[in-house]
Symmetry: C2
Subunit: 221 residues, 2 copies
């Protein structure tokens, strides 16, 4: 049984390699886990010995099938717990990430399955992040963001790819939630700003960085 430390390493490797399928560097991994790089190197060598990861010295690390299985299971727990906290316990959107961070290591598969049923087998968590299936399938889909999508198109927000409470609070207050509709009226790359317009409100500006964290799909029909 992997320790919560091991689970965290594997989960973060999975998150950091989402989309970009190449190796995760010790630098990013250490930063994500809030440890010094030397610690990450040491730990990764241990994880490689136990068959969870493949380590290319000085290049980076990737998950083995066994490591990926563990990582997906932890991610599934995390996202289902978040969904439970928001949908059932009515907790604040912005604060559930930290809670789930603890609970994901303490919850059994048995409890998780029942939670899943209670929630009606959701496909995504409250932030729009896809929930891996019980069998470990992660429905990964490439979406445009407010920083990259076409201008003046009607859009629906599908996902917020940032878990910090501050950003989520900001999104909440500006009605930038999964499901909300809006369009990007303009973009100024030099100034690093995007202008958006949501249904009931007037136009507002958003940094390109922030806009890049809000994923959207074109509104059809």
């Amino acid at each position: 049984m992997p320790s919560s430390t091991v689970e965290n390493y594997l989960k973060h490797i999975l998150l950091l390699s989402e989309g970009a399928q190449d190796l995760v560097s010790m630098g990013e991994l250490a930063a994500a886990l809030a440890v010094v790089p030397g610690t990450a190197t040491t730990m990764i060598k241990a994880l490689a010995r136990e068959g969870y990861v493949a380590h290319q010295p000085r290049q980076g690390v990737s998950l083995t099938p066994s490591g990926r299985t563990v990582a997906l299971s932890v991610l599934r727990k995390h996202r289902l717990v978040e969904t439970f906290l928001v949908n059932v316990l009515k907790m604040d959107w912005a604060s559930v990430h930290a809670e789930a961070e603890q609970l994901e290591h303490a919850i059994s598969d048995e409890v998780l399955d029942r939670l899943d049923a209670l929630l009606g087998y959701p496909a995504t968590d409250p932030h729009g992040d896809p929930i891996p299936s019980r069998k470990g399938k992660l429905n990964f889909q490439v979406y445009a963001s407010l920083a990259t999508c076409a201008l003046k198109q009607p859009l629906r927000i599908v996902r917020i790819t940032e878990q910090t409470a501050e950003f989520l609070q900001f999104a909440d207050q500006n009605n930038l939630l999964p499901g909300s509709t809006l369009s990007v009226t303009g973009r100024n790359l030099t100034a690093g700003l995007a202008t958006i317009k949501t249904a009931g409100t007037r136009a507002q500006a958003l940094s390109i960085t922030a806009a890049g964290k809000i994923l959207v799909e074109p509104l059809r029909r």
Copy 2:
């Protein structure tokens, strides 16, 4: 913030001193925690340094007010989680103890309060064990057991003081749940047996040891 190891030590000291208000010996504590006695001694000395317990060398250990506060909080989490698992997730009576053992260290006060509200502020968990209040009050009540109560009286089961899955399964199968009514028809101390009679069934025998773990109150009105 105490580690889960520390929380476990404190919780078990509280449980072992419930009722008997004197010191908990290293032997019982070590057995309850599944560590060797030497480990318990070492750990208790550390906990004493941090002000959680008072250690009388070669006598035993007791909780300080600060240690008791932590222990009660953990116990509250444990019992509320058990109640949630049984009442909401409809999990098996006998298996929730092990689950709660993990979750009690991962759940925040915020989540706990909402769980408490969702459950309707229960006073006891599914086994009849009292749930400490948010302010740390443990409604401790002395009950007779099937080993000590008067014979041929109508009784109601109020609590099962044993958490092992085997015993709980046994109790479940014989309809010996909190709320069930029955009476003790006879007792043979020499043979170590008690005979009980529940409403719809015929008389059955029970070891005195088992009987002592089933607490009852006289059925009034």
